[in-house]
Amino acid sequence: MSVSHPKFAVVGHPNKGKSSIVSSLALDDSVEISDTPGTTVRKCSFPLMVDGRILYELYDTPGFQRARYVLEWLKQHHVSADKKQEVVQVFIDEHRKDERFRDEVELLEPIMQGAGIIYVVDGSKPYGQEYEAEMEILRRTGQPSMALINLIEKDDYVQEWKRALEQYFKMVRVFNPMSATFKKHLQLLESMAQLKEEWIAPMKISIRYFERYHEQMLQQTAQTITQLIFASLSHVEQLELKDKEAGSVEEKKLEEMYKKTLRGLEYESQKNIETIWHHGHLQKEEKGLMFEHMDLFSKQSASIFGLTQKELIVTAATGGAITGAGVDLLFAGHTLLLGGAIGAVIGGASAYFGFEKLAKIDVLGQKLGQKYLQMGPMENQNFPFILLGRALYHAQSVASMSHARRERLKLEMNEAFKNQWLDENARKSLYRYHKKFQSKAQTDTKNLEAYEKLILEILRKCIDG
């Protein structure tokens, strides 16, 4: 039996979360998962491929349906221990076309082709003797095996399962695909590598690639968020004026158009992030992973994700003081530090008076030509923090969401989130870049790259902990 790369068959009783585990390990949310038993009818391969080269392969398999029949068939063939494997192969060969044993053939085939066994049980339900036939069949295949206790619900029967499973399996691990972090995911891969000595090296390479993959996803997310912030802050909305003068109706219309564009940018960015993290099923939903009843421009959003007026004034005053200090430095201190003081006052005052205001509305155009109303770039200094907070929270939720999850996930409001990522240093650095993005003329690629780096660091903190 020659094995070119490690293979693992995820097997078990029907409806014990085999597909969820495969979905989670393969980062593939297209796997059909249902609480109806027997959703998986054919084995399905999930290879980890790097440039077309398979590093390891996972098999999702149907559950055992007639384990006792299979075991009795195997028992009828009395052979020495070294021949037991061959009997299992004979069973497969003889029953390949027998519809009654379709599921057993499907699940045993990859094992007999050299796949390691990952036997999945539900640790939130009591242990039962009916599992013993399945475990005995698996033992007879002679393949390296481990058991995974999946906690589907909140009840905990892990200890009694452990006692039973340890009699059949070399390794027993608890793994909840719904809540497993990336670290747990890698730990499980490490455990799987231990099943066979020759699998250790390729699995280590796989883990390295997974880490690289994870890093790539983080970088792409940081890039998407940077683009969102820059595009939103520098956006300018224009409305052609039919009359020569602009009334409040036109101003209101323009403001709505401006807000709609910014909402659209946020929506697009969220969709991109969901694609980066392989949550394609969210794409099928009309709204994806959205903030329920919490508009981007709502007060609720501002209070949860934005800075308080005090925080903003302090940040703006500090920013202004730094700029003013530059002037002081230019005059070698002969200004008696007035530059810093004036800068702080201007910064603080602009934050105080502009706390509610979004952006300036201007009437532009030549005297004889077409006139138009213009809104933007964004002047509000709190808005970037609100938008960024929402983007980070969304990214964190998507990145930590299990690929085994199929139900719609609501983004709940989390007031503690801001404290998790926004410290004083980050606030000051971000504020500096936001100011540059708001005055489009000052933005160059270097600023965007530096901002992206900053976001990447914050994302690492939020997602990887």
Binding site: P14, L25, E32, R66, R68, Q129, Q216
Partner: protein, 460 residues
């Protein structure tokens, strides 16, 4: 990278003609280009260029730019030519003051070149005042207004403002160069066709010696190897012209041949300052434009994505085939009951031990002469034996949380041959007081319905 490649590549990148797998395969096919991103992008463009429908936006913009450049180029040459003819206009009554021509071929080019250098320094900013005050920028705008305009497909065409800046700078140099050629041709033409008396004149108190030194300074680049093109002090003295008198000085007439000597100097000055230096500026602007194009294309998110797809290993962990689903609707028949009898001929426990069945019967106050454990760890033979002992009404207790397998269905099909009525009682876990959860009941109902036998009842 030239402008056309930049435009076509930008358009192609937005079109995404290849999948991530194809892009990675391309990256692996060209390993040597991994460190030369522009070359790699150029090869990729060549491979996929057919995906763009003709004429592409890039083609349209490029041909528009070409026509605009051609028209404006010819126009500025003609303006230069006429300016030159005007500046060298000689009536025979008074000499041609070289200071005007010198201003146009030396001082104006030097000033505009300084401004060009300043705008080059600022070209990385999207809003660049110096670029926007450039004549080329406004000529372009006027051309756009006067001509039938851009192709409709190009109305919304947007160019990176930084590239736009360099494009204006580069074309300004080209136009200035062509304008200068107009002046040079005018000078040569006038010199060939007319006998011009050149002179110099100034209201300022400039002595011929000072003027000679100044002329020498201007001629620094050719005075050593082409001294004939540097007017001597004598020529300068003789060609000084005072307007008072309203006629040519008699001395000037005597040295008429000397006055014509100036043309060599003017030609060399025009060639050096307005042609050679300007051409140098044009080349510098061209390099700047190429660098801006390179920077702009590499900073586009589509480019970053493509380079990532080509150069980073393609990691795929998802299924390579569609998952087969069994979500088929089961049509069957199942009777349901809400009450249990007080007695049954037999109570069977599927995967329950005899002791557990006894406890369950006690709890539900069910009397039965026969309690049997089936399924679970029992052998098939033991199950057959249990079935053979059943008759009349039978209660089968099952673990509701364990979904029914085909093993159970086989058992039920065998049991229905023996019993008159089979009631299946799904039970919950002890912590739930043995009450089943509704979802589990649904699963059992579905499976039992697939048996499609009116002897089978489900206790709900």
């Amino acid at each position: 990278m030239d402008l056309k490649s930049y435009l076509l590549l930008g358009e192609l990148l937005k079109k995404r003609p290849a999948t991530d797998r194809e892009n990675r395969a391309f990256g692996l096919e060209h390993p040597l280009e991994q460190n030369n991103q522009i070359k790699q992008l150029s090869l990729w463009k060549q491979k996929h260029i057919a995906a763009l429908k003709k004429p592409s936006e890039g083609d349209l913009f490029f041909s528009y730019l070409y026509i605009a450049t051609m028209v404006l180029g010819v126009l500025v040459f003609i303006i230069g030519l006429f300016s030159g003819i005007g500046l060298l206009g000689y009536s025979g009554r008074e000499p041609v003051n070289i200071v005007y021509f010198l201003t146009m071929v030396v001082f104006v080019p030097l000033c505009t070149m300084v401004l060009t250098i300043l705008s080059m320094i600022q070209a990385h900013k999207p809003q660049n005042l110096l670029v926007h005050i450039s004549p080329a920028f406004w000529m372009e705008k006027i051309f756009e207004r006067l001509s039938s305009g851009k192709h409709p497909a190009m109305q919304n065409f947007k160019l990176d403002p930084r590239v736009g800046n360099w494009l204006v700078i580069e074309r300004s140099q080209l136009f200035a160069w062509l304008f200068s050629w107009g002046l040079v041709v005018a000078l040569l033409g006038t010199v060939v066709a007319k006998d011009i008396a050149f002179a110099w004149s100034s209201t300022l108190k400039v002595s011929p010696e000072e003027f000679h030194a100044f002329i020498n300074m201007i001629a620094f680049s050719w005075r050593d190897w082409f001294p004939a093109a540097v007017p001597s002090l004598e020529v300068i003295e003789q060609s000084r012209y005072f307007r008072l008198g309203e006629k040519i000085d008699a001395g000037m007439i005597r040295h008429a041949s000397m006055l014509g000597e100036w043309w060599k100097f003017l030609l060399c000055a025009a060639l050096f300052y307005a042609i050679v230096l300007r051409f140098g500026m044009y080349l510098l602007a061209k390099i700047g434009l190429m660098r801006a194009l390179k920077k702009s294309i590499l900073n586009q998110k589509e480019t970053m994505q493509l380079l990532h797809e080509m150069n980073d290993p393609l990691i795929v962990s998802s299924a390579n085939e569609a998952h087969v689903s069994l979500e088929k609707s089961i049509h069957g028949y199942l009777r349901e009951t809400t009450k249990l009898n007080t007695s049954y001929h037999a109570v069977l426990g599927w995967s329950y031990s005899k002791e557990e069945i006894a406890v369950l019967c006690d709890m539900a106050a069910i009397k039965t002469p026969l309690m049997l454990s089936v399924g679970g760890n029992n052998s098939l033979e033991e199950d057959s034996h249990a079935i053979s002992r059943c008759k009349q009404e039978v209660l089968v207790c099952v673990k509701s949380w364990e979904p029914p397998t085909m093993d159970f269905v086989d058992f039920m099909q065998a049991l229905e041959g023996q019993a008159d009525k089979i009631t299946v009682l799904p039970l919950g876990i002890p912590q739930d007081s043995y009450l089943p959860r509704s979802k589990a009941l649904e699963v059992w109902a579905k499976k039992l319905a697939s048996i499609n036998n009116d002897k089978v009842w489900l206790k709900v």
